[in-house]
Amino acid sequence: MSLLAVDGVTVLRGGRAIVEDASANFERGAFVAVIGANGAGKSTLLSVLAGLLRPDQGEARLDDRPMADFDRRALARRRAYLPQNPRCEWPLPVERLVGLGLTASLPAFGDFSPAMRARIDRAIHDCDLDSHRLQPATTLSGGELARAMLARALVSDPEVLIADEPMAGLDPRHALDTMQRLRTLARSGVLVIAAVHDLTLAARYCSHILALRQGRIAAHGPMAQTLTSGLMRDIFEVEAMVQGQGDAARVDFTASPQG
């Protein structure tokens, strides 16, 4: 039994299928890169996987139970979701921002329990934010904010983490750093599904790949077997060279087939 699955999922918008007949299973400990051209339906599929969007046809399942059957809070305790370019609208101190990840576990009134505080401390420490604990989130740099958001997502010890382009807007060092953290997380048993634009990074860090082409799943499988030049040509309509494996992997685009 898979931890997370989509089965025949179709999402329509304005009569057009954004995601069409998508079926896939995801296992614990996998780090899945969702790739595809702009508008291929990556964000929409991730929203369905996160249980935030109910598909027009088909369903998403967590532990073989339809997503729609889950209570919002119960679902929030099991999976974390990071949208593209997450922002903090108020200058909250970092530790408060991270604490927001525990919202679904908190009672309506009252403060964090000692156990929750310990989890916040650990998440802050794990994301190297110790020196920024009390800093207002709105004054963090891009990389720091990305780490703070990641800490916010991890503080609830989710079984599933779904991240929509977690490296958007990050410089190479912070992008590498984020991928490193997500891989470590996956290796600890969490299912991580992330939309990734940088294919070289995806090839180096992710265990699986899911390729979308015009809303349909074009390929889904372990990285080494699935990521091929042919797939790249199919997905992005450009010539691509896939070289090496693991930490030495590289994906280079050369030119479009039309010239």
């Binding site: 949208p83 922002r87 903090c88 609208e89 108020w90 919202t103």
Partner: protein, 329 residues
């Protein structure tokens, strides 16, 4: 003691002092001992009539309405993540005033005493619904929608007073648009308090959701927040508070705008933690404005409460407008 607890305590203490000052402030001078003895005095005693029947209900209304508006401001700013959100700026107060004016000037209150707060509530719901509906495109569109709804309600207010059998309507429209607590009685407290208490109770439950909304709507939803339910709760809570407040005191501006900003830096900007201190500050602000309207007189004529809240709020609003481009996204 944390800064949040300290600011709450300071606001509460300040409110107590202001409350004492408010009982002493009035157009008739009473000594402190007269005021103290008023509570035990005979029912027809002058000091008792003034303190217990006039000043006390006025003070209670000022505190209740100020607290309700401060709370509404904090919740609206949290929900809309917009530092300019305020029941008056969003047109909710005008809508409520329109409902209340219809109830009062067409004699509905004579048949059913709760007609004013109930119609105030309906007016507030309508106005808030319109503003929320048309103001979804960010800070600017929200403020514009609020201005449009305000002027619509203002026009409705003029029309209602125009058609009302009462000839002084044109003069009294000022009172409704500016807000006033003059000559209120315990009847008004009994009329408005249940609505405001119910509204405040609803609003106070939204703290956690407002916190989560600091991360934006998608993240809040992913954290288990039901946004539609939250919006509905805020709409109902704010309308209960503002509808009842406007039914007895007209549209009081700026209290809801200013209070949350005053407390936010002291509570680490966390929306849930601004709610209670903002309510306390709102109560203190309105009580202070009410004292001001008692003490400062021009040629023996009382200066309206709304003048004071505007004098207090307008410069603050300008400051926000100047500062906003730097803080807003």
């Amino acid at each position: 003691m944390t800064r949040a607890a300290a600011i709450t305590l300071i606001a509460a203490l300040g409110l107590l002092l202001l409350a004492a000052a408010s009982l002493a402030a009035g157009s008739v001078w009473l000594t402190p001992s007269q005021i103290l003895h008023a509570f035990a005095a005979d029912k027809t005693d002058l000091a008792r009539l003034i303190v217990v029947e006039l000043r006390l209900p006025r003070l209670v209304l000022a505190m209740l309405i100020g607290a309700a508006l401060g709370l509404c401001g904090a919740v609206l700013q949290g929900l809309l993540r917009n530092p300019l959100a305020d029941p008056a700026l969003l047109g909710i107060s005008s809508g409520a005033a329109l409902g209340a004016v219809i109830a009062i000037y067409f004699g509905l209150t004579a048949q059913f005493a709760y007609a004013a707060p109930v119609l105030g509530l309906v007016g507030a719901l309508g106005a808030a619904g319109l503003t929320f509906l048309f103001g979804r495109g960010g800070t600017l569109s929200l403020i514009l929608a609020g201005a449009a709804v305000s002027s619509l309600a203002g026009a409705g207010l003029s029309l209602a007073l125009n058609l009302a059998p009462n000839a002084s309507g044109a003069y009294e429209i000022m009172t409704w648009l500016m807000g006033s607590l003059t000559d209120r009685s315990w009847d008004h407290v009994i009329l408005a308090a249940p609505f405001m208490v119910a509204g405040a109770a609803i609003l106070l439950t939204t703290g956690r959701s407002l916190d989560a909304l600091s991360l934006g709507e998608t993240q809040a939803e992913s954290l288990g927040i039901d946004l539609n339910r939250l919006r509905l709760l805020v709409l109902i809570g704010v309308s209960l508070c503002v509808g009842a407040a406007s039914a007895v005191a007209g549209a009081i501006g700026f209290v809801g705008l200013v209070s949350p900003h005053l407390v936010r830096p002291f509570v680490g900007h966390q929306p849930s933690r601004t709610l209670l201190p903002s309510a306390l500050f709102g109560a203190a602000l309105l009580t202070a404005a009410d004292i001001g309207s008692h003490l400062l007189r021009y040629n023996g004529v009382e200066i309206k409460l709304g003048v004071f809240t505007a004098l207090l709020g307008a410069p603050f609003f300008f400051w926000l407008v100047v500062r906003l481009p730097r803080t807003a996204p």
